[in-house]
């Protein structure tokens, strides 16, 4: 008896992408070396340490902070971070009584040059649906509890504009170097779903 032949296209994403990649390579529409470079860049070179350097600089340099809040794209580029998905940046500053949180309700817009690629939860339906309607409940799920009188501003990113939160500098960090400060800055604190704990 002849082996049953599956004629429907396979739905396994691993097989689908392998087929797509080999077809595009065969036609010369993509280059294997370029693919490796793309993966290496976003897996190893670009990430939230970049954003942390921006935040730490803003904490220690008042002039830089002013430039950052005036024209974030240019100020971030001063530190060498620019490019795809960071072309038009806005930095929003957390202050006593004001907390900012960033979402992309429509898809996944996120500042790649400063934060790297977004985590799964940022791109998934629960966060995207609820960040705009119940930010306090969302923050609670991240273990962040803000006083009732703290205003929360939610910023909905889009393909033309991406936001980075400038978190508050924690108390007790006066003697710290810029590098030590940068090491305290978490990814979530720059999305607004985290706050930075004061050193013990």
């Amino acid at each position: 008896m002849a082996k049953h032949e599956h004629t429907a296209p396979p739905s396994d994403p691993a097989l689908r992408v392998k087929a797509l990649e080999s077809l595009l390579l065969e036609k010369g529409l993509i280059d294997a070396k370029a693919l490796d470079e793309i993966i290496d860049t976003y897996e190893n070179k670009v990430g939230p340490r970049n954003g942390a350097a921006v935040v730490a600089r803003a904490w220690v340099d008042a002039d830089y902070k002013k430039r950052l809040l005036d024209d974030a794209t240019a100020a971030i580029a001063e530190l060498g971070f620019s490019g795809v998905q960071g072309e038009d940046m806005v930095v929003v500053e957390n202050l006593p009584g004001l907390h900012n949180i960033v979402v992309c309700t429509l898809c996944s817009c996120y500042p790649w040059p400063t934060l790297g690629l977004p985590p799964v939860w940022y791109k998934a339906a629960p966060y995207r649906s609820r960040a705009v309607s119940d930010p306090r409940g969302v923050l609670d799920e991240f273990g962040v509890s803000l006083a009732d009188d703290v205003e929360i501003r939610v910023w909905d990113s889009n393909a033309e504009l991406r936001y980075l939160v400038l978190p508050e500098r924690p108390d007790g960090t006066d003697g710290m170097s810029e590098d030590e400060l940068a090491a305290m800055v978490t990814r979530d604190s720059m999305i607004g779903t985290g706050v930075i704990q004061a050193p013990k």
Binding site: R16, V17, I30, D36, T105, P119, A125, R128
Partner: protein
């Protein structure tokens, strides 16, 4: 135009469930989808609005039941076929060939 992708304010999507120490990619096929997407996008095969629209055209049930990089995979397949760079028949044939080799 609104649609299932327009998730702001929608109810019933469940807990956020952030993963601690999440890796950039969760498996090799996500890495490949990302690289193929950036390479074809960077190569000028389609622009960002086409990119988003191809995902927004996914059926609602399919959109909500598939992962982020599956959305991207659907998008690249769709746009490379629609722009004529490859054909659906060529892609199906390549998939069938690889499936046979793997079995």
């Amino acid at each position: 135009m609104n649609g299932v992708h327009d998730l702001g304010g929608m109810h019933g999507m469940g807990p956020i469930d952030p993963e601690a120490n999440e890796p950039v990619f969760h498996n090799e096929w996500e890495r490949r989808v990302f690289a193929v997407t950036i390479a074809t996008f960077g190569g000028g095969n389609y622009h960002v609005d086409q990119f988003r629209h191809a995902i927004e055209r996914m059926g609602a049930a399919n959109y909500l039941s598939t992962s982020y990089y599956e959305h991207w995979l659907h998008m690249v397949e769709t746009l490379m076929i629609e722009t004529g760079a490859i054909s659906r028949d060529e892609l199906n044939a390549e998939q069938t060939k690889l499936a046979k080799e793997a079995s």
